[in-house]
């Protein structure tokens, strides 16, 4: 036995050093793997909302609303969900790096793989309606910063000079064909719906978020030509002229009831 090996063995014996148990080692490895898996799942769900936003944007209406294509695209990007998706991809990468032999893969390869997986799973989640559900969940629970994103979208579609008003329904009077809408700058709009055909997928209920496209007839009154849900209609095969079309059944998002931050009592 050499002097060094002797010293090392002595130290191990004197300090009663024993190898970390197999169980602890396995637990540590699984911990990072499970964490990486969950980050991919969360990232995919964030991606599904991102797809939901982009897919359901009214790309055909941007010029009528007075936007340039570039300006509209920049406004339409849901930065909150982009950042959340990227954050989860980065966290998945971070967790993956702690796994055995992860170092053998290049950074770009791992990121690209995670991006592709998130895109694939995110598309599948969107297909099953997860994007819409999660968006509603975030909105209804006043998730920090999320209100700003929604408000930005409301502002984007709230351009009265072009005949666009967006907001939340605070009063419905179907006998007089009138709605009251609270816009993002807390202005109440009276919406005349007497000349509007309400598509079967639009829910004219208290607290629903909608967009009105029409003609401004006075300072606080708009004659609606079109009423659209806050998000463009995701029902691709829906025939708007057919009230009985099964494809037009609205995917209801959970609605806010009492928790409307911008709600004002109208006397």
């Amino acid at each position: 036995m050499t002097e060094i090996s002797d010293k090392i063995l002595q130290t191990i014996k004197e300090k009663h050093i024993i190898p970390t148990s197999r169980f602890k080692v396995a637990l540590k490895n699984y911990f990072w793997a499970v964490l990486a898996f969950f980050m991919v799942v969360f990232g995919s769900l964030a991606f599904s909302v991102l797809i939901f936003y982009l897919k359901n944007e009214d790309w055909e209406l941007y010029s009528r609303a007075g936007f340039s294509k570039l300006n509209f695209t920049l406004l339409a990007i849901p930065y909150f969900w982009v950042l959340l998706s990227l954050l989860f991809i980065f966290l998945a990468y971070y967790n993956f790096r702690h796994m055995k032999f992860a170092y053998r893969r290049r950074f770009s390869v791992i990121i690209l793989a995670y991006f592709s997986i998130s895109l694939f799973l995110g598309s599948a989640a969107y297909f099953f309606g997860a994007g819409s559900q999660i968006e509603g969940l975030f909105f209804n629970n006043n998730i920090v910063f999320y209100g700003n994103l929604v408000q930005k979208r409301q502002e984007m579609w709230n351009r009265p000079e072009q005949g666009f008003v967006a907001g939340q329904i605070i009063f419905v009077d179907l006998n007089n064909n009138e709605l009251q809408l609270l816009d993002p700058v807390e202005k109440v709009w009276f919406v005349d719906i007497s000349h509007t055909r309400i598509p079967p997928f639009v829910n004219l209920n208290f607290s629903q978020r909608i967009r009105v496209i029409g003609k401004i007839i006075s300072e606080d009154k708009i004659e609606a030509e079109m009423i659209k849900p806050f998000f463009a209609e995701p029902l691709e095969h829906c025939d708007m002229s057919d009230d009985g079309d099964d494809d037009c059944v609205l995917i209801h998002r959970p609605q806010m009831k009492e928790n409307i931050p911008q709600l004002r009592i109208i006397n």
Binding site: M1, T2, I4, S5, D6, K7, I8, L9, T11, I12, K13, K15, I17, I18, P19, T20, S21, R22, K24, V25, K28, K100, F101, Y103, R104, R105, R106
Partner: protein
């Protein structure tokens, strides 16, 4: 001791992985692993840190204790030598971090000649560099380049082993080695040009 020790001859026939398994049952076997690698690892510590032999032995001792502690996390898909080099490398770096000093390199004359012979594969490069010149060139190189040069040309590790030791992708290791060689030549050229200017 609960188990009967094997004879020296049969120990020599055992692979590293077999000795790891035996060490998990009986710590005495771990000393055979230490004996197999202590010389190589001490010279590696000195090459990457420039410490004296006694200090290198201390670092090695701590590294082997750490290795024993992590013995269950050793994956047999990896070469034991790569795993040992990795732990020793990390231990050396961590010692320098604790002392808040930058590691310096120490190369024996023989090391320097081997290094230049390996880097200068074409005839355009003057292989008759002075020992001091090589030291200056190495001191002007980034740590990441020196590390791969040492592992590739002095420790004679292949790209896969270097990848496992430094925990970097094989492709990155290849790039680092090529860049290190180029850097070595570039710095050498610059030094020569500066020397000529001074003469004029």
């Amino acid at each position: 001791m609960s188990l009967m020790m094997l004879s020296d001859e049969s120990i020599n026939e055992k692979t590293d992985n077999e000795l790891v398994s035996l060490s998990l049952d009986n710590q005495e076997y771990f000393s055979y692993l230490v004996q197999r690698y202590e010389r190589r690892l001490i010279s590696y510590i000195i090459r990457i840190s420039g410490v004296k032999l006694e200090d290198a032995e201390d670092v090695l001792q701590d590294a082997f204790v750490s290795m024993f502690l992590k013995l269950n996390s050793f994956d047999t898909r990896l070469k034991f030598s790569s795993w040992a080099y990795r732990i020793v490398h990390n231990q050396t770096i961590s010692e320098f971090r604790k002392k808040k000093v930058r590691p310096v390199q120490y190369f024996e004359e023989n090391d320097l000649v081997r290094l230049v012979d390996s880097i200068a594969t074409d005839d355009s490069f003057d292989k008759k560099l002075l020992k001091d010149e090589i030291k200056v060139i190495l001191s002007q190189m980034d740590k990441k380049y020196r590390e791969v040069l040492v592992l590739k040309f002095l420790e004679e590790k292949d790209y896969n082993e270097i990848s496992d030791i430094l925990k970097k992708p094989v492709g990155t290791v290849g790039t680092l080695v090529n860049r290190a060689k180029k850097k070595f030549r570039d710095i050498h050229e610059k030094i020569e040009k500066d020397a000529e200017k001074k003469k004029q």
